[in-house]
Each structure stands twice: as C-alpha cells, then as structure tokens.
Amino acid sequence: MGKPTDLVQGTLDLLILKTISLEPKHGWAIAKRIQQVSREALQIQQGSLYPALHRLEQQAWIKAEWRTTEAGRMAKFYSLTRAGRKQLEKLASWARLSAAINLVVQEA
C-alpha cells in the first residue's frame, strides 16, 4: 500500500459525492471504489473518510440508511440528496476548471 495521498477537503467531498451518485454505498465500498477507479493511486484513510461522510450528512448533501449488504450484514449506506446532486455539479465544474488550468500550467 502506497503512502496516503493528501487530499484537500473539497476534493474528498467531490470524490465521495461522485462515487455514491450512481448507487448508494457504505463507507467501505466508497473507499474501495475510489481506490479501484483511481488505479490504487487514491487511498482514502478511514480517518478522513468517516468524518467526511458525517460532515456531508450534516450538510444534508448525503443521507444515510441502514441496509443489508450482499453478505447479509447491516451497514450504513449513503446516497445523494437533491442538494447533494447540485453540490456535486458545482464541485465537478470546479474540478474541470482546475484540470484546464493544470493543462495550461504543464504546457508552459
């Protein structure tokens, strides 16, 4: 396992919101999914993941409910609220802008 990537808060929020935008997921699945999609580059530490989830829930961007996993265990599943979807769009447009700026910076 690589060194934990230092994530700024907004980026982590964006990653979480994006990850649960398709279907509700529990914390473990969110971390795994981000790790997988980023080809192991992003390791979300539990110490940042769960506080972030609770913060987002507190902001009413995501909501949580207890559901049974495929393995038959109870887990807390997070899904996007309507406000969360808006927030995701906002953060995503910011990410696009930042990517564009990165392109320019690398070219120069």
Binding site: Q46, Y50, P51, H54, M74, K76, T81, A83
Partner: protein, 226 residues
C-alpha cells in the same frame, strides 16, 4: 428543504446522542470487519488479520471523536461544560458571588421600580375615554411667565362660565390623606375624599357608581368618594 434536513440532523445528533453513538460504533465496526475479511482473503491467519486491521485503522476512538466534531454538536456540549465549570467556580468564592448577585439584583430591581413609576406616571394613558383631550390649566403672572400658578377660585368660575374652547371645565381641591369620617349605623368609617366641582364626572366621561351629579351652572362643590 436542505435547511430543514440540516436542522433535523443537528437535532438528532444532539438529542438522540446515544443512538447516533451506537450507529457510529456499528459503522466503524463494519469497516473493521471488512478489513479483517480482506486480510484473511489475502492469506493471513485470522488472528494476524485482525491485528493488522486494527493497526491500519488506528485508534477507533479518535475517528469517533472526529466524526462527532463533524456533527458540530461538540460546541453545545462544551458550552454545557463551561456553564458547569462557571457554577463550580462561583460556588467556591461565595463572597464574590454574593456581591455580584447583590449588585445585579439591586441594579435590576432599581431599574424595574423606576420603570414602573415612569410607566404609570408618564407612559400609560389615563383611564378615561379620551385621555388625549384632557388638559390641565394654570394661570400665569405676566411678570414671571415661567412660573405656573394654580387657578384661583374666582378666576375658575369666570373661565368656566365664559370659555368656549373646552367641553367641560372643572376643578378639584387638594387631596388630603387624612380623609373624612363617616358615621353610619353607629359605626365610623374613614373615607378617602377628593372635592371636585360639578360636572367633574361628565367632563371626564367616567360616569358614577352612586349618587347624582348636579347639572347646570351651580357654583357648588361636591365631595367625591372613592
């Protein structure tokens, strides 16, 4: 909508704390178990898998604390702690506390008393039908215009008989705290008395409980019992 959701979350975090805590515990426990399973799946013996998982996850209590911070209710809890601390400190220094409480009590009491007087005397309208139309008339010495004098008897009758500016023009005598005695059925009663001129009740439009008020322009002075 979102404000409402936020308020509901805040409420839940604050007042259903034990439930929230249990859920948080269960959530982190689930994560830990997933980690253990993953370690076992990658070929570790169960014991070692568990130890490795605990190592990775670090102090669980620290996460819980951070999650609690994120729920933003810690500040309310620390406020409660501060209040308790303040009470303990105050209890330890009774002299200081006593002086502070006495100062506050006297201050608040004084202001309240003063306001009651101001309210009754200056602010509250008089208990008559049209208090705004009541005026008090003084007479004036042209040489000393700043000093208001009471209207003297002869002047009063003159003004009353000839004025057209007022609906009614009445006078009342000085109030005497001693009052009068009234003997009735062999028993004496001390009455509070104010002497007024005829037309007094009509001018104030206050009506009488008993008796009859003389009308017309008689120059009589009545005793008013109240």
């Amino acid at each position: 909508m979102r404000t409402l959701d936020k308020a509901r979350m805040r409420f839940r975090s604050l007042f259903r704390r034990s439930k929230v805590e249990v859920e948080l515990e269960a959530e982190l426990r689930f994560h830990l178990d997933q980690l253990i399973e993953e370690n076992i799946a990658s070929g570790m013996p169960p014991d070692e898998a568990r130890r490795a998982a605990l190592r990775t996850i670090g102090g669980m209590t620290r996460f819980q604390e951070e999650c609690r911070d994120m729920r933003r209710v810690n500040f309310i809890e620390s406020l409660a702690q501060d209040v308790r601390y303040a009470i303990r400190r105050l209890a330890k220094t009774p002299a200081f506390t006593g002086v502070v409480i006495a100062t506050l009590a006297l201050g608040i009491g004084g202001i309240t008393a003063m306001f009651s007087v101001v309210q009754a005397v200056l602010l509250a309208p008089l208990p008559y039908e049209q208090p705004g139309q009541l005026v008090r008339v003084y007479q004036q010495d042209p040489n000393r215009p700043a000093l208001p004098y009471y209207v003297t008897g002869p002047h009063f009758w003159e003004i009353r008989d000839h004025t057209s500016s007022f609906e009614g023009f009445v006078a009342l005598g000085n109030y005497n705290e001693k009052g009068l005695d009234l003997a009735h059925d062999g028993q004496a009663h001390r009455l509070r008395v104010l002497r007024v001129t005829s037309g007094y009740f009509r001018a104030l439009r206050s009506g009488q409980l008993r008796g009859r008020e003389s009308s017309g322009k008689t120059r009589s002075v009545y005793g008013s019992l109240f």
